[in-house]
Symmetry: C2
Subunit: 613 residues, 2 copies
């Protein structure tokens, strides 16, 4: 699959954008006109620069408000187009994007539009260029791709074809299946964007909230399947207008964008494999190495300067230490199948606190290969002789994901730590979920990374009110629920990231006994206000004995259609805390209603410690 990206997706100067696209491995770029106009590089210099970088210049865009106009304006528009064609010749760009008219069209007559496009085709012919006509979702008369396709068919000019943009088609709820009725030689260009489902006017939605494929709610695999079945084999380009990506580092965004297209290629191949193949599909697509759901979260690695405090908490929750690793500066604590690898921040792990997640998988090599094919950076790791090989990659925020082979109930690498005693079993059984706070510039990239690399599914995102702003939370999980990762988007306000810690939640089947046992070991949980218990009593009318016990132990309560959820938190140690959860009868959530209470309590606790300005 040939890949391209519009320069508008990336921040910085045009030159920075070109270099970032090249470094991420894109084959080409679309030149977004404002980026060219603002550049001090001449068109010829841009052409040379792209050639030197090995990038093709696939599209010049956008040209607006051409068709459906009166004769006088048509003449003006043809002159305007000729000026752009001259420019395209200087750039060496063959294809120009023409958006359907939003401003100056007086008529929606398809024959008129086709006749005017034919005239445009004649001018384009003089310059040896071609025009890709795109139905904008908010076009004045032409706002769906089937109309645009009819007009192009009527124009019947070799220089006039279509541009298909997934956003304009799917945002309006149009069925992409009719793409298959379009002749491949009339599809001049394809732009792909994902988006969250919003009830916003489609122009604002398009201009501010597009996402890279795999980060939103559109079914782009099916879309691509229809496209491939036409026989289209041109570039698949990203045109993603997004307020966050406009601010983020362009080199990181370009990698993130490239990953989304690789994932999309996989989805396309999967879609083609299953759907009816009405025509040959010359578009080269390749599946990613398939990976099965992790059998286990084999460990979570925490890096903190407050290890002593964390050790105490682990001990109070019933964890036991295994001692230091034989060759690395980390130690292991475990209980049941829950394992915490504890280390201090160092130059390789400056942040975040949840520095890594270890997964037990059937085929670590396949998992690594999939991650590498998704443009993940491999974490260099040295193993001494006789140590279990672990392979891993870096998530967008710098944390690590490691894959180890499934070798029975206890990973063999456990023996690399001081104590070789059998693992200690108590009330905690395993890791339930891991919560990774993400800075604003990594959130969408992290959603894509975990979804694509680990083949996870996204649950509906929720918003949680914290004393420092709204926190958006997105859970990704494996089908069987063995792996659940909650990504929290830290409010962008200055300093807010300092007070949104990350956390690990452990699963137990008896949280009340565990809380009681922990208390006997001196544990003091995060304080939950008495008002909270009055509130859940009013809401759920709990058994008085249960309510008393919850209150006494600072255990929180939630309920969904399936069952109940009981959970408690530790205080934060630096920027990390721990949680213990009990899911009764298939409760599927994470206690989102309780999260604001927890955030407020943590905020007060830090304020009391004087950590807040």
């Amino acid at each position: 699959m040939r890949t391209s990206i519009a320069t508008v997706c990336l921040s910085g100067t045009l030159d920075q954008k070109l270099v970032a696209a090249r470094e991420a491995g894109f084959d080409g770029v679309e030149i977004f006109e404002p980026d060219l106009v603002a550049s001090p590089l001449s068109p010829e210099a841009i052409r040379t620069r792209a050639e030197d970088l090995g990038l093709s210049l696939d599209l010049y865009q956008p040209f607006r408000d051409f068709e459906g106009v009166g004769p006088e304006r048509l003449e003006q528009n043809l002159r305007r187009a000729a000026a752009k064609f001259t420019l395209m010749n200087r750039l060496g760009i063959e294809t120009m994007l023409l958006c359907s008219n939003v401003a100056t069209a007086r008529s929606g007559d398809e024959h008129l539009a086709a006749a005017q496009l034919r005239k445009l085709g004649d001018v384009a012919d003089r310059f040896g260029v071609r025009v890709a006509y795109e139905a904008l979702a908010w076009g004045r008369f032409v706002d769906d791709y089937e109309t645009a396709a009819r007009i192009v068919r009527l124009a019947d000019h070799q220089r006039i074809g279509l541009c298909l943009d997934s956003f304009h088609i799917l945002s309006k709820g149009h069925d992409p299946e009719a793409i298959e009725t379009i002749s491949a030689d009339k599809i001049f260009f394809v732009q792909m964007a994902d988006a969250p489902l919003l009830s916003l006017d489609v122009l604002s939605w398009s201009r501010h909230h597009r996402l890279f494929p795999g980060e939103g709610a559109f079914d782009l695999g099916t879309f691509m399947g229809h496209l491939a079945r036409t026989g289209y084999d041109g570039p698949i380009s990203l045109e993603v207008f997004n307020d966050t990506f406009r601010q983020a580092d362009p080199f990181a965004t370009a990698i993130h964008a490239r990953r989304s297209l690789r994932w999309l290629e996989h989805e396309t191949a999967a879609s083609l494999g299953s759907g009816p193949s009405s025509r040959a599909a010359p578009m080269s697509t390749a599946m990613l190495p398939l990976v099965e759901s992790p059998a286990d979260v084999s460990y979570v690695e925490l890096r903190t300067g407050d290890s002593d405090e964390l050790r105490l908490l682990l001990m109070q929750l019933g964890f036991r230490p295994h001692g230091r690793h034989r060759s690395k500066q980390v130690e292991l604590w475990s209980q049941g199948a829950a394992r915490i690898v504890l280390g201090a921040p160092d130059s390789e792990h400056p942040q975040p606190t949840v520095a890594g997640i270890g997964l037990t998988v059937k085929d670590p090599a396949a998992a690594l290969l999939r991650a590498e094919e998704l443009f993940s950076a491999v974490v260099p790791r040295e193993e001494s002789e006789g140590e279990e090989p672990l392979v891993g990659v870096r998530a967008p925020d710098g944390s690590e994901v490691f894959f180890g082979a499934d070798r029975g109930s206890v990973p063999t690498w456990v023996d690399e730590f001081g104590s070789t005693a059998a693992e200690h079993a108590d009330l905690i059984e395993r890791v339930d979920h891991v919560n990774l706070a993400q800075p604003w510039q990594y959130f969408d990239a992290a959603v894509l990374f975990f979804r694509a690399v680990l083949d996870l599914h996204t649950e509906a995102s929720v918003e949680v009110a914290a004393p420092v702003g709204l926190v958006r939370s997105q859970v990704l999980r494996s089908d069987d629920g063995i792996l659940r990762i909650a990504l929290n988007l830290v409010p962008s306000g200055s300093g807010a990231d300092a007070i949104l810690p990350q956390h690990v939640a452990f699963a137990t089947s008896d949280v009340l006994s565990l809380a009681r046992a922990a208390r006997e070991r001196g544990f003091s949980p995060l304080d939950i206000p008495a008002n909270y218990y009055d509130d859940i009593d009013a809401r759920y009318q709990l058994e008085p004995a249960l309510l008393d016990e919850l209150r006494e132990l600072n255990v929180m309560y939630d309920r969904d259609d399936a069952g109940e959820f009981l959970h408690f938190y530790t205080h934060s140690v630096g920027t990390v805390f721990l949680e213990v959860v009990e899911r009764r009868d298939g409760y599927a959530g994470y206690g989102a209603l309780n999260a604001p209470i927890r955030l407020a309590s943590q905020y007060r606790h830090r304020a009391n410690q004087g950590d807040l300005a």
Copy 2:
């Protein structure tokens, strides 16, 4: 007018919110339930705390999903309500907000809803409390205030009344005039919020984008006029859900909120003065001191560590120095009626670079009084004997606005600077506009401040693409255009504020001659790429001679329905730059289409200087 604010408008803990509300001078607060539930203070302690602070607790909110349900759920709901009434008794709160049912209502029968509300009224009676029923804009059956008013009338219970919320009424485009048909004793509570006009689903619009009165697009003065004519004399409360305010400093937000209600009181009084007064209006409202539009921008004060560079630029643009002030560490440069007071940052003026704006007004004392009534902090200023008194206040970002009396063509304070020579006249005539970059947490507050304190009007806001993100720009202006202030919202991404400087634009009637004269004095303007001139040529088909001259002098061009705009920029000096503009034939804009080119050029220039990481 009695004022109140919902705790949800402010960030922080409940206690911080109460203190912030008190410090801003609110009479009372609404307790937003999640704030209470998350608080470690008991209801009794909250009551005492509010009493100690002199705040009334005006409303407990929200209670949801009560009416229109089946008999079994009704019993549950009545029990749930009784628990909340118990809590309200402990808090000493008399009124509870009941939102119209969005989830559990099975019937929209108004008689059924009224009968159920009557039962709720009976329970409320036992606790001595009352219920204010509000039609949510997204209520399942009840989504407009007239329906809610009919249900309350049918319920016919002294403990059951209405809550009116401007957002729920105006967001749906409902006419607020029918408020006048409601009996004042049935209006238990009033919540005011402004909002920008968005085509977003009303729930998301309400939860994320409300603004304080005066910051959005709603006609709240007219709304308040209708309300006052009912005879309502209860609290006017702010309930503003806003993602930014949730993150901002609660003390600054509370002042900002209090200012909005004082402005609203003024608008109400103005509305009552002009409309038909069908009933007595006991709501005490007071106009603000009226101020006329400034006669002149008498000076702009710049504080920068790079004064030498700025002096050179001013000289090249034809300004002449007057010398140092006789008692203050600032100097004056002028040309025509454009005056720049130049100083260095000091402890009183650490930032921003555009440290102050001096306005010539008819009555400085009235202008100051208006600003003070709008809760503006007065700037302490010492005058030595014989110096012109200037009075001023601080804008939300810390910059200053000073008022001086109109004493003819040249302000008398000019004589306080070294040279007493007559002012030097050249091609620059006056200040055209001032552009103040605002950090994210001050933007809306700044819109309200300038609009209310200086009685300016807002123009439509625009978004401009910069290499570091989208910049939202909002112009405020006096009717006659003498004073124009553009507020730019800096993208929130880290570090972006460092590269969005502020600027002063000067008006001339011959920008080309001025640019040429400046060049003869060694001036080198901000580089504008050749691609830009090719683009405007394609767009406007300019006279070749004019195009050549623009290109040669790095002058930019724009056009609107009225006329033409020619302008050029200086390089940035620290975080400030200068612009010279020529408005031909009543051009009313600011060259928004050219702003991205300028921002990209500034970005490159700083990158070349190595200012960027």
